[in-house]
């Protein structure tokens, strides 16, 4: 791929420009005093040298492991420097009445350093993305580290913008504040998690998926019902079913049962139509083979059609894992006992405690990802034969 190689170079040239700017422009020019990058002592000089080497390595076209390592070091040093400088930069915005443009001008060296660190990370990601690892362990590390670098930069950029421009806390709290809030209010978060996830989501998910599955097996025996139910099921699964949340709260009360009911309603239909589609997935030849074995309904269901339906069933289980979280949290907006993730989110928004809201969202995101991940792992273990999992 000669095209990608040619493109990779411009990041190196821009990084070089950014490096020159970071060295030439003042980091902070508050009042008459100006601080420069290189005036920080011998450590700074050493780090700057390392970055220079990294930028030069970035200009080189051929990817070598030494070059990659140098870029990795340079990116790490530049990023660490940015993080190290952030507290002193964050002091400027609240103290001075500068506009956004003036603020950038006053800290131009710092922002050049940010651009430099970002470009070096980008170069690193590019290099890593092009490596074709042969061993499984190395491939795993690469597959994890590339998105991880990207994610860390998003968080860092969020922190940088929020703190250096003093964005009001209510609008967007910095990630560091969310993290502090998260670890200081673990008990509250744990109680909410238990109420929403362990009670409502899991119960509703199990009942909804289970009943969808059983109904699909029952309906599958009656072709007439199947023909009638499939279009209806397809329609219903496109409907905004979350909207039944207030009705369920009216029927089943404020506690977790009403949330579980919403989850049941939301997860039932995806499971039903996916299982029905999956039961029809086995081929005629295979069914004929079972027929020649004189297999009865039960045997051909258990040994052929259900295994063939597994990819579809797991698809529904994955879709439902997200839907279940959404259903339970949204249902809590309509009334809860004074506990639960949805309840906490809506009340803390009202009190403008956005850091608590974000902490709650982080917990929900983590729970949702782990839930999805567990389903995906079980899928991998039980449908290892499927073409999509076979190594090329």
């Amino acid at each position: 791929m000669s095209g990608t190689r040619r493109e990779a170079v411009w990041q190196g040239w821009v990084a070089l420009l950014a490096l020159l700017a970071a060295l030439a422009w003042p980091l902070i020019s508050a009042g008459g005093a100006r601080t420069y990058l290189l005036s920080a002592g011998s450590n700074a000089v050493l780090a700057a040298l390392l970055i220079v080497v990294a930028v030069v390595a970035g200009l080189g076209a051929a990817a070598s492991s030494v070059g990659n390592l140098v870029i990795l070091l340079g990116a790490a040093v530049a990023t660490a420097w940015v993080i190290h400088l952030l507290p002193s930069i964050a002091l400027i915005a609240p103290a001075s009445q500068l506009g956004r443009g003036e603020l950038i001008a006053a800290t131009s060296g710092f922002w050049a350093l940010v651009v430099l660190a970002w470009l070096l990370s980008w170069l690193l990601v590019r290099r890593l993305a092009e490596i074709e690892a042969s061993r499984r362990g190395a491939r795993f590390v690469l597959n994890i580290s590339v998105p991880l670098i990207f994610g860390l930069w998003i968080v860092l950029f969020w922190e940088l913008v929020v703190r250096s421009f003093a964005v009001p806390f209510v609008i967007l709290p910095p990630p560091s504040a969310i993290w502090t809030r998260l670890i200081t209010s673990v008990p509250t978060l744990a109680v909410d998690f238990r109420q929403t996830f362990l009670k409502a989501v899991l119960a509703g998910y199990a009942i909804g998926c289970g009943s969808g599955f059983l109904v699909a097996i029952a309906v599958d025996r009656v072709p007439f019902l199947k023909r009638g139910l499939l279009p209806v099921g397809n329609l219903v699964s496109a409907l905004p079913l979350v909207a039944i949340a207030p009705i369920m709260v009216m029927w089943f009360g404020f506690d977790w049962q009403s949330k579980a009911a919403v989850v049941v309603a939301m997860t039932f239909f995806p499971m039903l139509i996916n299982t029905l589609a999956g039961l029809a997935a086995s081929e005629t030849m295979e069914r004929d083979l079972m027929h020649t074995y004189a297999a009865n309904y039960r045997q051909s269901l258990l040994k052929l059609r259900l295994p063939a339906a597994l990819p579809f069933i797991f698809n529904a289980l994955k879709i439902n894992s997200t839907l279940a979280m959404i259903g339970a949290i949204v249902a809590e907006f309509f009334g809860t006992p004074i506990v639960g993730m949805g309840f906490r989110i809506s009340t803390e928004v009202g009190r403008m405690n956005t850091d608590m809201v974000w902490a709650e969202i982080a917990v929900a995101a983590l729970a949702g990802s782990v839930f999805y991940g567990v389903v995906a792992l079980v899928e991998r273990a039980s449908t290892f034969w499927h073409p999509s999992f076979r190594q090329p």
Binding site: G3, T4, W122, V125, L128, A129, E130, N143, V146, P147, I149, F150, G151, I154, V170, I171, L172, F224, L225, R227, G228, L229, P231, V232, L235, A238, L239, P240, V242, A243, I244, P246, I247, V249, M250, W251, S321, T322, M325, I326, I329, V330, F333, F334, G335, M341, G342, I345, S346, V349, G350, T354, V357, I361, A364, A365, G368, S369, F371, Y372
Partner: protein, 309 residues
Amino acid sequence: MSAATITGSLPARASLGARFVGSRFFAVAVVVIGIVIVWYAGAFLLDAPFQRYLDSRANVERTPVEFLRATFNQPKPTLPTPHQVAVDTFNSTILVNPTKPSSLLFHAWVTLSSTLAGFISGTLLGVLIAVGIVHLKSLDKSLMPWIISSQTIPILAIAPMVIVVLAAVGVTGLIPKALISTYLSFFPVTVGMVKGLRSPAPIHLDLMRTYNSSRWQVFWKLRVPASLPFLFTSMKVAVAAALVGAIVAELPTGAVAGIGAKLLVGSYYSQSIQMWSALVVGSLMAALLVTAVGIVERLVTRRMGARPS
């Protein structure tokens, strides 16, 4: 295998009645009628105790038929009957001036406008990200995992916060709601388009190479046409998701306007019939939107010379 297929002739002209019974329409109709019957039975089970209580308080003796009629026509039933919902839906859509807030069409329009705004921007964003992912390997490796995990986050949960926070900055009305819809609808489009833009077989890509076509030409003449079926399938999912987003985004706006607001007001005053008719209108909107995308799909594929399936 029936005799008809073996001899190769069409199944001997079945009588009209038998063909009707075998048709999909009939099957769907039977299922729908079954649902309505179950609905009435459920309404009786849920509403009868309250009616009995009312009658015993008022010392009214009723015949079973009268009792049934009274049960099915309570003003605030636990589960409204289908005819109550139908009548209320009809009254609040057809009989009321659609520019008044008492009309459900007014609320439907509010929801529809933010749904469409979010759906369009979500689709554009999704296509844009997909194009980037297909052409830049580093984006594919670094962004794709985050896009997938972004959907395991119950994003609807932060909908109220986005709305409240944006309102604090002074952004109100359509844009915050459309933002939620955008977030929900970009994902299916991105995933579908990445799949679609990669769907041309290597042999087709090789053919383009023998023509010495540029990247740009490969994109417009091969990848884009190949991706259209995927795009439309994911747009159907996306438009339904955008509607859900718009409805949930209306919940915290202080219940001003929209289907979601109507639901919230209904739950405050336990006006169950109004809640159900809002639900019915919302469902009709979902069905209409998905059908509309389907019609556009058929038009576009016909223009491109695909055989109607």
